[in-house]
Amino acid sequence: MNPGTRKGTPPRASWALGFLLVAAAASVLGSVMLGSVALPAREVLAVFLGEGGDLARLLVLELRLPRSLAAFATGGLLAVAGALMQVLLRNPLADPYVLGISGGAAVGALLAMISGLGLAWVSGSAFAGALLSTLIVFGLAHGTGSWTPTRLLLTGVVVAAGWGAVITFLLAVRPSPELPGMLYWLMGDLAHARGYGLPWIMLSVIVALALPLGRSLNVLARGPLQAAVLGVSVRRLEWTVYLLAALVTAVAVTTAGTIGFVGLIVPHMLRLVIGNDQRLLIPASALAGGILLTLADTLARTVIAPEQLPVGVITAMLGVPVFLYLLYRSRT
């Protein structure tokens, strides 16, 4: 067995989880406090005690809280998807956005939207797109040999560019009215998040799965050969993780469009602090991803208010330097 799985949770890790839980609550609270209309903190707190003026109740309960919850769940999902892919590929640069999985989901969702289909179809179609993209990238990059970082990234970049072209094509042939809204959605935007139910259910499921799955993932992280020797059914495990990552990405994309780099930054930062035990890393990623996106979305809707920014712009501004740094470091 992997020695890491037998040891109890190291104290440093439980501290980290505890800290993340507190920070998560604080980030949601903070995002509810801030908005383009200035509400005194006391009034916001009064709303939670069932008091407060009509306008404050309206703004906090109907606009800020649902959006903040949607942002948190989406961020969590993206970070978990990133963490899963990084284990699967044993490569810190894997991320649903970089590898074109989000692009596939976006094309699927866009096709369903253009055909005027309902929300269930949009999610289903996004899942099909994410799955197809996953198969193409992993299938081609794997080939007969093993995954080399260059080959994987190149395949991902090319596939992502391909999806980008499909999206541009769809937007070009589509009459203009919905265009501005769709552009924002494609850059990642929570203004149109239709609800936080589905992402929260998905997030709970994936974190609940993390414990039983985490053990096998820890073994897999040491290499497929070793995992096989240690009695893990590698093929089945890899397929399960593929499907989960695609599903999680699809739910995130249907909620908030294609938001980049959350899946890249969050697991990487966490690994530096709490190590690479997947049973911890996945719930911690869910929390930290949620925190990051909640804060990014708060910035997106307040920085240049009343104009709104797509949240994807903020995460990309944070993510691109981190990505470049990782690439630079992996040279040596």
Partner: protein, 322 residues
Amino acid sequence: MPVPKAGATRHGPSWLAFQAFRRRVRRFSAGLMVAASLPIAAAAQGISVIDDRGRTVQLAEPAQRIVSLAPHLTELLFAVGAGDRIVATVAYADYPEAASSIPRIGTATQLDLERLLAASPDLVIAWSSGSPRAALERLEALGLTVYYSEPGHFEGIAADLQRLGELAGQEERGAVAARDFLDTITELRDRYSTRPEVTVFYQVWDQPLMTVNDQHLIGRAIELCGGRNLFGHLETLVPRPGHETVIAADPEAIVSGGPGEDRPDWLAEWRSWSQLTAVRRDNLFFIPPSLLQRHTPRIAEGTRMLCEVLETARSRRVELPR
């Protein structure tokens, strides 16, 4: 005496159905518009109109605090004397002058819902094809009254003037504005629609090249002026033809809007195609986009300018020596 009619519709698929529909919805007689009672039981003393999506919009009393979600809607509200009741609007709502001082709540396609709610409007005027639908549905769910406007033709603008007037308690001013507008349009139609046909390329933008089809209000204006829109038959409302297609079709006149209120440089660029009829006869015309591209009463002025430049094109039919 022309009998102006106006009614509630979006881009109706068939003119006949549209006629029947608007006859049922509202009736005007002898230039004086009298609202016919609606088949459904309207609020006893309140205001009830049907918007451009066919929804019934009801108010207990005239709107006092209006939020307008597009520049042309702000302009329509000012035209019926309800400008002072607009408590918030969006970017680029710059006409008339007084509109510039109204607080902003984002752009026509991206709204700041918080500030919109904080303005506590009793009526929201939305643009059917431009305003973000999901955001508006949320506003409706929160109990706000939303009127959707989509004036796709001249009668639609008159209908919107009339109905916005009713909603703002300015029924008479709305009716007068609608009648004046339709009178001008009718006058132009009588005068120009039977004139010899001029083929027109209307240029919305240059990179990419953009034009309009016959369903677009500008397309309808071209038709009214006795012009034939080069790309009127296309299905897309705002088609993007290639330069080659325009040159091959050889329009008699090229009419352009622009990014601003000045003649755009791109209009002169057609001169490099010296074999074009429009270039040989110097039929390269500019009409300020604010007069023709906004669905407001000012489009009557823009249409008049369009009719006049096409008339100029007709007068240049005597072939000049090459």
